[in-house]
Symmetry: C2
Subunit: 324 residues, 2 copies
DNA sequence: ACAAAAGTGTTAAACTTACACCCATGC
DNA sequence: GCATGGGTGTAAGTTTAACACTTTTGT
């Protein structure tokens, strides 16, 4: 029971209160939807197809940044929470309505959108690519998976007695996943279009500079988009920050399972970790670490030019147990 | 260099684009400003004064929730980022302009504010109480420190084969810090007021229920305010979530230093950790752990009924070094 | 046969945890 | 003397990290 009681005086205040008389921003949810993409089969019968980190982008149909690729997302509606906005957008864009979803920060740099004052809450979404059914949303006429490659480069490290400045450059390379072939049921609805659009603008590059300043015992990070070729708005920055959030959460939580199909081999799970963390892990150690979070099934893989592997699934017991 | 070029067609679009024709929310930054409060001296000459976790609240001057206590905060202005809003509010409210400051999530439940569609970004701020100079902001006529006590209570744990529901109740008790006495320079400006306000409504209680649902391998947390006596809006929920963020960050980062004065004893640092984590730590182990983050000064405490302690300060070297 | 992935065991080093112990001070 | 906080050492237990090794498959 809420003990707050409204008085007549207050009721009168609220009736005459006009919130629209104050300047206020539009609010959007921008979605960084990650998945593990499986490269096309190689000819070598032994070698497993390579796995890559993928992100979902949509091509902008209208101004501004018409024709550029952007993160899926959309405006919040009155009467829904921002999480509901994010879930609605995810559903519209991928057809998936249950996925790992969490916000990782607000993007509100002045003039980040030429249309006016628009702030975005960034959301990290992890999906199993094979469950996605891409289709065009209201503001976009094409949705596609891009592989993500983020190269980190430390440009400058200035450490003084009681202040420091560390500049890091993130070089983003997003490559459009080779067009879905016939047997791939991924694309359901996609407006066929002019020849111009068939030209595969398959690689997007961008560079974001992160300036971390330490002074007065506090850290501030500022991001500047150095170069953004074919990516709309400040989405290059949002992608970098989303990837950082993904890496951070991968280290601390067991969220990688959300990128996997229900049943998976331990090797593919390890590969997913390695892709996100950007380092190779030693198999025995990795297995010991994830052992509590998986359970063996009685199914096996087969048909590859090597020893078959047991299929595992998530151990739900330890999933619930992590209640601090 | 930004390679995006605007066409005439796009310029025309933007000139006629009216962002105000869409429904949009007001945006505020709500600040959970934490500090370590030192209780009044005890009579026992040996015993050090107790330390408590404190939070800054302001009493609302206008409707709605007139007379209730609320988190400090305010509306974002066009032309500033939300972090700038937060820093501006912190400065206005405490006089502090350099502090640990980070956002911990958006609050956007429909109807959370009776004035209309208002969403808030929650900010965690950690300050050294002794550096604060409280004063009234534009919307509040009184600011005060409250000690924070959050009691956790697991109400229900329903774990099935592949779903679970865990309900936890957080009972909040906020006690106004005994009025500043003469030698305390904390309060600079404070509008003196009617006798009614002298009655010390010194204790605020509230209860928030957290429902964590696990289904489809995903976790969702929903917060419901069960009882909020004297706290405005959904601020009881924001305080609980801010405290969770504080505890989480205390475990992973070295943010506790931001609550401490420049020079401190290892015991007071340990006490700060214990207050936040809600558990007692063993001294030798604690010291080993924080040893890399502190450096000895040549100063000592004295005058208490026990052995004097060395004063330490933060080791800035390791502060910068944590660059992953 | 052999390359690629699947999978196990062993050991040293690092870190965590628990606990036992002594020191210095003001009254 | 003694309660209180200040401070150190040691040893057991656990976790992490590195590496060496065997197994199974399709061509």
């Amino acid at each position: 029971m809420r003990t707050y009681q409204m008085t007549d005086e207050e009721r009168k205040f609220l009736n005459t209160y006009d919130i629209t008389s104050f300047d206020r921003p539009s609010l959007t949810a921008d979605m960084a939807v990650f998945a593990i993409l499986t490269e096309n089969e190689t000819e070598e019968y032994r070698k497993d197809p390579a796995q890559k980190l993928g992100i979902l982008l949509v091509r902008r149909e209208g101004f501004p940044y018409k024709g550029s690729w952007a993160l899926p997302g959309g405006f919040a509606k009155n009467g829904e929470s921002i999480d509901e906005t994010a879930l609605r957008e995810l559903r519209e864009e991928t057809g998936v309505d249950s996925a790992y979803l969490s916000s990782f920060g607000m993007f509100s740099t002045p003039a980040r959108d030429p249309r006016g004052w628009i702030v975005s809450e960034g959301f990290l979404a992890l999906v199993d690519q094979r469950k996605c059914r891409l289709r065009a949303g209201s503001d976009a006429w094409e949705a596609a998976w891009f592989t993500v490659d983020i190269r980190r480069e430390e440009l400058k490290k200035h450490v003084l007695a009681n202040s420091a400045e560390i500049i890091t450059k993130y070089v983003l390379t997003l490559s459009r996943k080779p067009a879905a072939d016939a047997q791939d049921p991924e694309i359901i609805e996609q407006k066929g279009n002019e020849a111009e659009n068939r030209i595969p603008d398959s690689v997007i590059t961008a560079a974001v500079e992160e300036t971390r300043t330490f002074s007065n015992h506090h850290e501030t990070a500022i991001y500047t988009i150095i170069d953004s070729d074919g990516l709309a708005f400040d989405h290059a920055e949002i992608i970098v920050r989303a990837f950082q959030a993904l890496r951070e959460k991968t280290r601390t939580d067991t969220i990688v399972f959300d990128l996997m199909p229900e049943k998976f081999t331990l090797y593919s799970l390890q590969a997913a970790y390695e892709i996100i963390l950007g380092e190779s892990l030693t198999t025995p150690n990795f297995r010991r670490k994830i052992a509590p979070y998986v359970v063996e099934t009685d199914e096996m893989t087969g048909g590859a030019g090597h020893r078959p592997a047991k299929l595992f699934k998530r151990n739900l017991d330890t999933f619930y147990r992590d209640t601090k």
